[in-house]
């Protein structure tokens, strides 16, 4: 279905691999960086919206609305007033979500590009080889799947002599970085409506990503770690108060 993205992704990934001394781990990291650069406008918009939503929680006018229209019977009025305030402050309530939807095909394409490039069975290799348009493709196949202590084609485990089982280092890093990333995007003091969504995201997303990293190839886990670290770095670099934080509600006149 997404072949029109997956095939070029695979070719670019392998091309980068050929430029980096046939190091597939580095190729994944560099390619992820390139994808993040291309999708920077979407990521920036998403972060801006997420920050605005976070800062809105401490906005006095927002708090006033919450207090004035609390209770189940005022839900519709509350929603109307919230929408008015969003418009007033230039915030899109979907701003943190829609960029994710737009980026979903890229995430899936990246997953398939890494998976295909690490072809481990005959039919996988056949499919991978077919999709390559590089003139020196035959010289590159199969890709060198070893990077640091990992075989990128296999689920990652670090084996130490004194331990009977391997440590899923990348899965743990994915869990921690995914949690940090979702935590950054969640408002500090979410409203009742947002609380359930935020808590679910903070719990479900990191666990899902860590589970995928645990059972699938280390190459995919490396991609998740790279993209998470870049997201966190982007967040801290671009952190600046938004309009929601700057809005000041006039103080109530003192009663004599």
């Amino acid at each position: 279905m997404l072949e029109f993205i997956i095939v070029p992704f695979t070719n670019v990934l392998v091309f980068i691999y050929s430029l980096l001394g046939q190091n597939f781990g580095l190729a994944i990291i560099v390619f992820t960086l390139l994808v993040r650069l291309v999708t920077y406008p979407f990521n920036a918009s998403q972060m801006k919206s997420a920050k605005a939503m976070q800062e809105l929680q401490s906005n006095p006018k927002w708090k006033q609305i919450q207090e004035k229209y609390k209770g189940r019977e005022n839900r519709e009025k509350l929603a109307q007033e919230q929408m008015k305030l969003y418009q007033e402050l230039g915030i899109s309530p979907f701003g943190a979500c829609l960029p994710t939807l737009i980026q979903l095909p890229l995430i899936i394409a990246m997953y398939w590009a890494v998976t295909r490039a690490l072809a481990a069975t005959p039919l996988q290799l056949l499919g991978f080889a077919r999709g390559l348009s590089l003139p020196n493709a035959a010289e590159l196949i199969p890709l060198n799947s070893h990077f640091l202590w990992m075989d990128l084609e296999q689920p990652e485990r670090l084996y130490l002599d004194f331990l009977p089982i391997g440590i899923p280092v990348l899965a743990i890093i994915v869990l921690v970085t995914s949690y940090l990333q979702t935590k950054m995007m969640t408002p500090a003091n979410p409203s009742d409506q947002g609380a359930q969504v935020g808590r679910a995201m903070n719990l479900y997303m990191p666990i899902l990503m860590a589970y995928i990293s645990y059972i699938y190839s280390a190459g995919l886990a490396l991609y998740f770690v790279t993209t998470n670290v870049l997201s966190i770095a982007q967040y801290y670099i671009t952190r600046r108060p938004t309009a929601a934080a700057k809005t000041v509600v006039p103080a109530k006149p003192k009663q004599s």
Partner: protein, 356 residues
């Protein structure tokens, strides 16, 4: 559910579905592999989660291993029947199995490898040679005990062959190796420039032939490792070449079948078919048979003239195999795992395993 919740959860649900639907080790990783024991009238078929022993005359199932599907057991490589009556099975679960070919009972297992067995083991001179995707060739005694290992630089997918005093192994690391079969010491290395998926083929005078993904067929002196000649094919050569009477037959992923002079590599003829060919051409009763990805079984005369084409409603990979008066085709669909044809292409019997 509010729109905001929907747009928040939708990516999670979608990603869960995408990733959970992907990458299963069991689904169609390869195609069926066959071994025929004509003396006992049995054909052994390896596909996905089982090995089936079938009666050659009618395709009736004698036994299967394991008796029921097990999540970790997957195999596709042609089983190897040894001289001391063992049936060797290459497992995707990193295990090499030895079974009793009469009833499928397990003799022993070897679990010392760290990756899938893609290719078949070979047995020669009382030693079992098992190539693995962990880049190693494992040499075992007939009881499955490790004797030595040989390490290449990339996975080993092809079955090694013993030529006089040299074990010849072709590797995905672009090299063909000549190895001492007793010790595993490397004797020679030939860099072919392209990955080699399938096994070398023995010709005359200890010359072996290999096909590479660099679109070449090479003739290699197995004693010295020197390349005698190379031929540039139209496409990637996935399957093993076939040697017959001074000719080398091969096919490529462009669907071209070609015949070469075994002594010089000069092309004698070539024919284009409509689909990629991953297997070795079969020579049987003075005819050549190939399978292609377009679902065609094609019969040629020895000079390359097409005799007949049979269309099967499935992509066909691998090689046909001759068994008595039959030609066996691995299909690998739910309707048919194996087709047995006569030399005119008519179906004699079909085997489809019972669903589990």
């Amino acid at each position: 559910m509010t729109i905001k919740r929907l747009t928040t959860f939708f990516p999670l649900i979608f990603l869960s579905l995408v990733f959970s639907a992907c990458g299963s080790a069991v689904d169609a990783a390869s195609w069926p592999g066959f071994t025929v024991d004509e003396e006992n009238g049995t054909v052994y078929v390896a596909f996905n989660q089982a090995i089936y022993a079938l009666q050659l005359e009618n395709g009736a199932q004698r036994w299967r291993f394991p008796a029921e599907n097990q999540a970790n057991f997957t195999t596709f490589a042609p089983p190897e029947l040894t001289g001391d009556d063992q049936l060797l099975i290459s497992g995707y679960d990193q295990t090499l199995y030895s079974l009793n070919p009469a009833n499928g009972n397990s003799n022993w297992t070897f679990a010392g490898a760290t990756n899938r067995y893609i290719g078949s083991p070979s047995a020669a001179g009382g030693t079992i040679y098992a190539p693995n995707s962990d880049n190693r060739l494992y040499a075992l005694n007939p009881n499955g005990e490790l004797l030595w290992t040989f390490a290449a630089k990339q996975p080993l997918w092809s079955q090694p062959i013993l030529v006089a005093e040299t074990l010849v192994i072709s590797s995905m690391d672009h090299n063909v190796y000549g190895v001492d079969p007793a010790s595993g010491e490397k004797i020679w290395t030939l860099d072919t420039g392209g990955a080699i998926v399938s096994s070398p083929t023995l010709g005359e005078d200890e010359v072996v032939f290999v096909g590479t993904l660099k679109q070449q067929v090479l003739a290699i002196n197995s004693a010295s490792g020197r390349s005698e000649w190379s031929y540039d094919a139209p496409g990637w050569v996935w399957g093993s070449p076939t040697y017959i009477d001074g000719q080398v037959l091969a096919a490529d992923l462009e669907g071209t079948v070609f015949a070469l002079d075994a002594a010089t590599g000069r092309e004698l003829w070539s024919v284009d078919t409509e689909g990629a060919i991953t297997g070795a051409p079969l020579v049987y009763n003075n005819h050549i048979y190939v399978l292609n990805e377009s679902g065609q079984v094609i019969s040629f005369t020895l000079d390359g003239t097409i005799q007949w084409t049979k269309n099967v409603e499935a992509a066909l990979y691998g090689s046909p195999i001759a068994a008595g008066e039959l030609i066996l085709i691995g299909v690998g669909t739910s309707d048919a795992l194996v087709l047995a044809l006569d030399e005119n292409g008519d179906t004699v019997w079909t085997f489809a395993p019972a669903s589990q």
